[in-house]
Amino acid sequence: MAHHDVHHYNLDQKFDFKASTKKSIVTVLVIGIALLALGVIMAIFGGGHEAEGAEAGHAFHWYERLYANLWINNVYFTGIAIVGVFFFAIQYAAQAGWSSPIVRVMLSFGNWLPFAAILMLVTFFVANHDLFHWTHSYLFDKNSAEYDSIIDGKGAFFYWPMEKGTFPVFYIARMIIFFGIWIFFFNKFKKLSLAEDINGGTSYWYKIRSNAAFFLVFFAVSSSVSAWDWVMSIDTHWFSTLFGWYVFASWFVAGLSSITLVVIFLRGQGYLEMINENHIHDLGKFIFGFSIFWTYLWFSQFLLIYYANIPEETVYFLERLDSDVYGPFIFVNLGMNFVLPFLVLMTRDAKRHGVFLKLVCTLLIVGHWVDIFLMVQPGTLGHNGGIGFMEVGMFLIYGASVALVVLGGLAKHNLIAKNHPMLEESYNHHI
């Protein structure tokens, strides 16, 4: 093979989560709390829409918007966290060598999963009827005036084996099992990877790989089903067969952007000296490629519904495109998540330099939040939604919390899997 130089990198480096870094993240958190408080106060005293809300059946309350915001960020940051574990597993399943110094960065995102699980469960029980129409028991009562035969037909997916309209056992069980198994695999990967640091050898790599294979099969199913459960069930009547992949693509791009931002941040702090523009280029290609993949799914879903023009399907896009509140965001969504990354990251140089990638990654992290926002708010809040102080505040709170948890987890252990059998391949990575 090509001529190899001997490399001497410090493999025992440990990320030092400096007080100054913590302070700036906490500042963001505090700004987020302030904005959220401002948004809540404005929502309580602003009112205004209540007359219209009453027309639609029940009055709109300000806390519904708070719940919707919690749900948007629960779904979004759960996605970023699990994509970290997913991308880690992919590296092992694909036997990738180039990424071996940054596998710990990917895995560290899984530290958010336990928090995400608790937040998601608690939000579900608190928000319940305010977020999910299908939780109303009268929908399943044939004698009720509100009886809905379509939702009744789907009821078993939420309530089995209990009676429809009571307690959603199946739904809650899925949520707990998905999070449980995701966290189980996250811990398993972490344990094996840390044991490799101590004992070395290739056996740990093989063990992680076989576990990764099982995790990936499970994730393929669970990521889709969780998208139906947590996002598509908001618009209970409506369905789309590729919705699971669409949400997954959104998660994946957001997760890749987060991983890349952390890698670039660590490089800037003087860690990971072996990561050069070749590795950054690969991460850039992933982001570029999967942004197009996301667009492909977005457009596939849109075109078929638009072309077939069946009312029960088009309602999803009519709710968004015809709305004064959400209409413009459809185009913001496509611009931020497709047009800009596509044009900016098209050239080789843009993928190799941190400046462009930092810009695009930040853009994409906000952009895919807008995507999830567009999935959740129209079905829960209708015309009472929109992006205001509450949305920005809640996003900053979640973002800062995730950053604290992820970087805190990263600082606990060796930054590099120092006995990873493919480190040498990564040193000589050249594209």
Partner: protein, 176 residues
Amino acid sequence: MERDTNFILGVYDDEDVLLHAIKKVRSSGVKIHEVYSPYPVHGIDDVLGYKRSKLPIAAFLFGMLGTSLALTMQFYMMRFDWPMIIGGKDFAAVPDFIPVTFEMTVLLAAFGMVGVFMISSNLKPWAQPRIFDVRITDDKHVMAIDIANNSSMDLEKIQEILKSSGASEVNKKSFE
């Protein structure tokens, strides 16, 4: 047309030796005409000092051409030439045009890129390739040095440089 080109060839057995040899030969001031290998050698364009290919620019421009041709064609046909109501949509229904536009973009980008590559590499069907050494299709790497481009150096010196850089043989080659 006799002996208009005259080459000295360094034959190398190993790509690792070759990559180091290219650096040595270039740093000693000899201009390399071309290096021939039986398979792609990673990093060889860097040590040879080749600039990055401009092919992606051609691909982009041909892609843009495809995009605009596809959109023009569909707008003209669907809106002006033969308007038809399809599925109750507008005559100029942009979402309908996207798949065809995408395909045309990819098609013209690919065809354009292949065409530009063939023209810039002189790969016309009637081109007569110059075979410096038949073994470059088997297991040898050959570095060709054009004597006309290295008139400031004498032949023995160049041969010496090639030998010391690790060439297993140093040959001469002329083309009719």
